[in-house]
Amino acid sequence: MNKPSTRQAILVYLLLAVVLIVFLTPIYLVASSSVKPAPIMFQKPPAFFFTPTWEHYHVLFTERPFLKFIGNSLIVALGSTAISLVFGSLAAYAISRIRHRRMNDVAFWILSLRMFPPITVVVPYYIIFKTAGLLDTPLALIIVYSTANIPLVVWLMKGFFDEVPSALEEAAMVDGYGIIETFWRVTLPLAAPGLAVSAVFCFIFSWNEFLFALMLTGSRAQTATVAVMSFWSSDAVQWGRIMAGSFIILIPGVVFVLTCQRWLVRGLTMGSVK
């Protein structure tokens, strides 16, 4: 490609600016509203300059056990991410390597698990977990989220495993490794970017999920998303607290993605086989 001209550069930055505004405005609103005193919350035009207050955050952590809800969210999100990655990548490896004419059907069947609208299974899940005595436990959410995440991981990781040249695995086997060690030491490290992508998707999905968390948890296992909405009651909507809670919820997702980012590098298999 030629060196972009100044005009092209300006155009690119202009487009970037538009995109940034579209994406960052809501986040700005959340952040600013979370520290805005309640009386000026809905002032028109919005108040850009004001003395920030920590009141909403204070209430969040003193009047409610918000830390516990965040803890619940973390347990559920990390737990289901871990389970989904383990089972999803093992299944994906099998589907990628086993030559069988029905293998595509299996892969499609796994994907189909994600096709129904979640709302249709809320009640069945409720009945199942009630019978099993798992209502209002993190385990219930971990199970539900894993069933949703595993198909995604299978499909993502299958693509990454397909890219790992089988010659590398054969080399490892001749070098004295069994199939499990070969998977662990050669195939999986080379599919690390896929693992990182999968982890990000699983974590974000589980962290943000609302519907199942609302229906399947009570006071003990409540997650942060549900807890935030509890400030929305029939007689009053406490916007400041909702915004403060929302802002806190934003943070772990960003941290997690940034942590995974160093694995999201491409071209790991470069130079292995000619």
Binding site: A167, A171, M173, G178, V186, L268, S272, V273
Partner: protein
């Protein structure tokens, strides 16, 4: 005891039989080359020895032990892959150490072996690099290094030079030869390059369509080809074949008659259809009044430097002659040629087999 032994080894993919019952015995320390045209089953055979493909039928032993159902990791073989198959997430040093880890050596021994192998292959300066930062020739040497550090019973090579340019190929070929002399390890080496085969091999196994056509030293297969396939496959340009019939103790071809050399006496039958084989270097230009001189027309002359190749037409027969480039005839020249009787081969026209067996 053979180092590697194949007895009636068959490979099938579903209903397709790719390798049809190969018998082969390789002695300890021998350098054996599997040679044949593309798709003849060389790689498949090698991969069966490595354990990367199941043996459909027959018996495969390494070091006297039947290994049909032994996993690759327990066969004591090391393999150099055609595309090198270096682990891209490991440095050169780690690639070599990785191959040593299953041997559970003391750390000092691992380090010593890596250093020693790196020194032999000139990889000292590259140990900290990843494969992506190496040239093709360097990758090739790392692949050999990874196989060598393990000091295996058997080395398997699958066209290790095919990704190198012509000059590097010659150089690495030479290094492989030296390496074999130094280590004395049994080597099974696949190639379709006959120069590699002729220069490296103690024993060449010539394959076609999943069959072994001939096993012998480079000299055997060149000077005593078992059939027309080997005769035309080995040697460049290929051996000329002219159909003829044995009549009254003479070889009667369409356009000429040759006396039957003594060594074929008693090996032919009157009236038998044969193929006369002559290497291009055994077709020589001669004076017209020489007894046995045959009239020929030069269709094309190809200049090679020291030699020239002449595309000749002798009566109805086309053949190639390799002659000194000096005083070579031009295109369309009319010349006279004779065949070197000592270099004459005869094959049965029906079976293609040599009459000298």
């Amino acid at each position: 005891m053979s180092s590697i032994a194949l007895e009636k080894v068959v490979k099938r993919y579903g209903a397709f039989e790719i390798v049809h019952g190969i018998d082969l015995a390789i002695d300890k320390g021998e350098f054996v080359v599997l040679l044949g045209p593309s798709g003849c089953g060389k790689t498949t055979t090698l991969r069966m020895v490595a354990g990367l493909e199941d043996v459909s039928d027959g018996k495969l032993s390494i070091g006297g032990r039947v290994v049909n159902d032994v996993a690759p990791k327990d066969r004591g073989v090391a393999m150099v892959f055609q595309n090198y198959a270096l682990y891209p997430h490991m440095t050169v040093r780690q690639n070599m150490e990785f191959a040593l880890r299953p041997l559970k050596l003391a750390p000092g021994e691992v380090d010593r072996r890596v250093r020693e192998t790196a020194a032999i292959l000139g990889l000292d300066a590259l140990l900290a690099r990843k494969p992506s930062a190496l040239s093709g020739g360097q990758r090739q040497r790392v692949a050999m290094g990874r196989a060598m550090v393990r000091t295996p019973e058997v080395f398997l090579f699958d066209e290790p030079l095919s990704n190198l340019d012509a000059k590097l190929r010659t150089q690495v070929r030479w290094e492989i030869g030296k390496l074999h002399k130094r280590l004395g390890t049994t080597i099974l080496y696949v190639t379709h390059d006959q120069v590699e085969a002729m220069t490296l091999a103690d024993k060449i196994v010539i394959m076609r369509d999943g069959h072994v056509e001939q096993v012998g030293s480079p000299e055997d297969v060149y000077t005593r080809p078992a059939n027309t396939f080997v005769a035309t496959f080995i040697g460049s340009p290929a051996m000329n074949l002219v159909p003829a019939r044995l009549m009254g103790g003479k070889l009667q071809a369409e356009a000429f008659t040759l006396p039957l050399p003594d060594r074929f006496a008693g090996r032919t039958a009157e009236g038998q259809a044969v193929l006369i084989g002559t290497r291009p270097s055994d077709v020589t230009l001669t004076a017209a009044d020489n007894p046995g001189a045959l009239r020929a027309t030069v269709e094309v002359t190809e200049y090679l430097g020291d030699d020239a190749l002449l595309d000749l037409r002798v009566g109805l027969h086309e053949m190639i002659a390799q002659v000194p480039a000096a005083n070579r005839p031009g295109n369309d020249a009319s010349v006279h040629v004779t065949f070197n009787a000592a270099g004459l081969h005869l094959f049965d026209a029906a079976t293609g087999g040599t009459l000298l067996s």
